[in-house]
């Protein structure tokens, strides 16, 4: 009984710090979404200006290679290509949940919760595999 109470007290103390970190994380997420939306909007305007005639989406063709790889997307974005900017914005968007996972690794490490550092690293590894492991 005393052991459980002790753990409850420790949790109370931790929760204040946890809450503050959670709030920081929440703000980070929203910042990422805002940045992504800004990029997509800017790219969208450029895209609409340069593509007056609509694409046929009924047939699946697959995107050109330079809009599929990170290097290609960045190159396109730098050239102020509308599609490239949009894809860059989408990459930033996809990065926001990844950033949250990275943040969690740090948060668990600060709490010295090594079990969850490992668990979170596994999730991060799976995410990296899906993003970069497809050649």
């Amino acid at each position: 009984m005393g052991e459980i109470e002790g753990a409850e007290v420790v949790r109370e103390v931790d929760r204040g710090a946890e809450q503050r970190m959670d709030e920081w994380m929440g703000r980070l997420l929203q910042g990422g979404v805002t940045l992504a939306a800004a990029l997509v909007l800017a790219g969208g305007v450029l895209y609409l200006l340069r593509h007056p005639m609509p694409t046929d989406y009924r047939q699946f063709h697959g995107e050109p290679q330079d809009l599929r790889s990170i290097r290609g997307i960045i190159a396109n974005a730098k050239a102020l290509n509308g599609s490239g900017l949009i894809q860059l914005g989408l990459l930033v968007l996809i990065a926001t949940p990844v950033a949250r996972v990275v943040y969690s690794v740090a948060a668990f490490a600060v709490q010295r919760d090594w079990k969850y550092v490992v668990i979170t690293l596994i999730v991060l590894g799976l995410l990296c595999y899906s993003l970069f492991g497809q050649a």
């Binding site: 997420l29 990422g32 895209y47 996809i94 497809q134």
Partner: protein, 278 residues
């Protein structure tokens, strides 16, 4: 119809999807895919790519608020995310080899079942729950804010939850949806978390799951910028609007209306898939 008009229509439709999604909790993905494939005749692979983007957008935009309120259980969420991300990767890879009509039929069936689940969702009976062995080792018990201050709760049946989360992940990667209904089912019914903790933790997890499949879709060329742009901007605008309009009574009626609409869309998807029109 030129590109601007086309994009504007998709933007408006996505706004509506995001708005309804924010109000009812049934995500934007379930509306985006039928809307794009049935209404705009977009190939289902492009549609799913765009839907995954919208799922991440609403999840990251909204999850921020939930995390701040101290409801979601980060430990449960993070551990189960191992299952959902593996599932999402599997689902995205399977989708590459499946015919569009097959995906359409699966989509419609899952949609029907999902609408049924959400409509019938009754939180599990509150009673004495003992912490499961794996849950204890993983220190998953937590507490959440109630009217009487923070109330503690216990977690159990982690392996069952893990299995259900894997399925949720596969569905997310295969169909471009958030699978929130399955996630909440796993946490609420199987693992005995309080309902509000389940829903908020599910929102927190949905974005990570979608990111895993979105990465694969993007690198395989299934995400088209011209399509994803109005969808993402529309869904974000709609969900921001919806978050401000939340009132209790309206939500109940809306949820029923939404369930009916979803059911109709689901039947359409199945019929179109079976007849080969998708």
């Amino acid at each position: 119809m030129n590109t601007a008009e086309f994009s504007a229509l998709i933007f408006v439709g996505s706004c509506l999807a995001g708005f309804l999604g924010a109000l009812t909790g049934l995500g934007g993905g379930v509306v985006i895919v039928p809307m794009l494939t049935l209404l705009f005749r977009v190939d289902i692979k492009y549609a799913i790519g765009a839907a995954l983007i919208s799922v991440i957008a609403t999840s990251s935009g909204a999850a921020a608020a939930y995390v701040r309120e101290g409801y979601s259980n980060v430990r449960v969420g993070m551990f189960l995310e191992i299952a959902t991300t593996i599932g999402a990767i599997c689902g995205a890879v399977i989708a590459i080899y499946l015919r569009a009509s097959v995906i359409a039929v699966i989509f419609g069936s899952v949609l029907l079942y999902s609408a049924f689940l959400s409509y019938r969702q009754k939180p599990h009976a509150r009673g004495q729950v003992e912490t499961g062995r794996l849950a204890r080792w993983l220190q998953m018990d937590g507490s959440y804010p109630t009217a009487n201050g923070r109330e503690a709760y216990h977690v159990r049946n982690v392996p069952q939850g893990f299995g259900l989360m894997y399925i949720a992940g596969v569905l997310s990667g295969l169909l471009g949806i958030g699978s929130g209904a399955v996630k909440v089912l796993a946490m609420d019914q199987a693992m005995k978390l309080p309902f509000k903790v389940s829903t908020t933790t599910s929102n927190f997890m949905i974005g990570v799951t979608a990111a895993a499949s979105a990465g694969i879709y993007l690198s395989r060329g299934y995400v088209d910028p011209g399509l994803a742009m109005p969808v993402m901007l529309g869904v974000l605008s709609g969900s921001l609007l919806g978050a401000r309009v939340l009132t209790g009574a309206t939500v109940k009626v809306l949820r029923i209306v939404f369930a009916v609409v979803i059911a109709a869309l689901a039947v359409e998807m199945i019929l179109n898939g079976l007849s080969g029109r998708i």
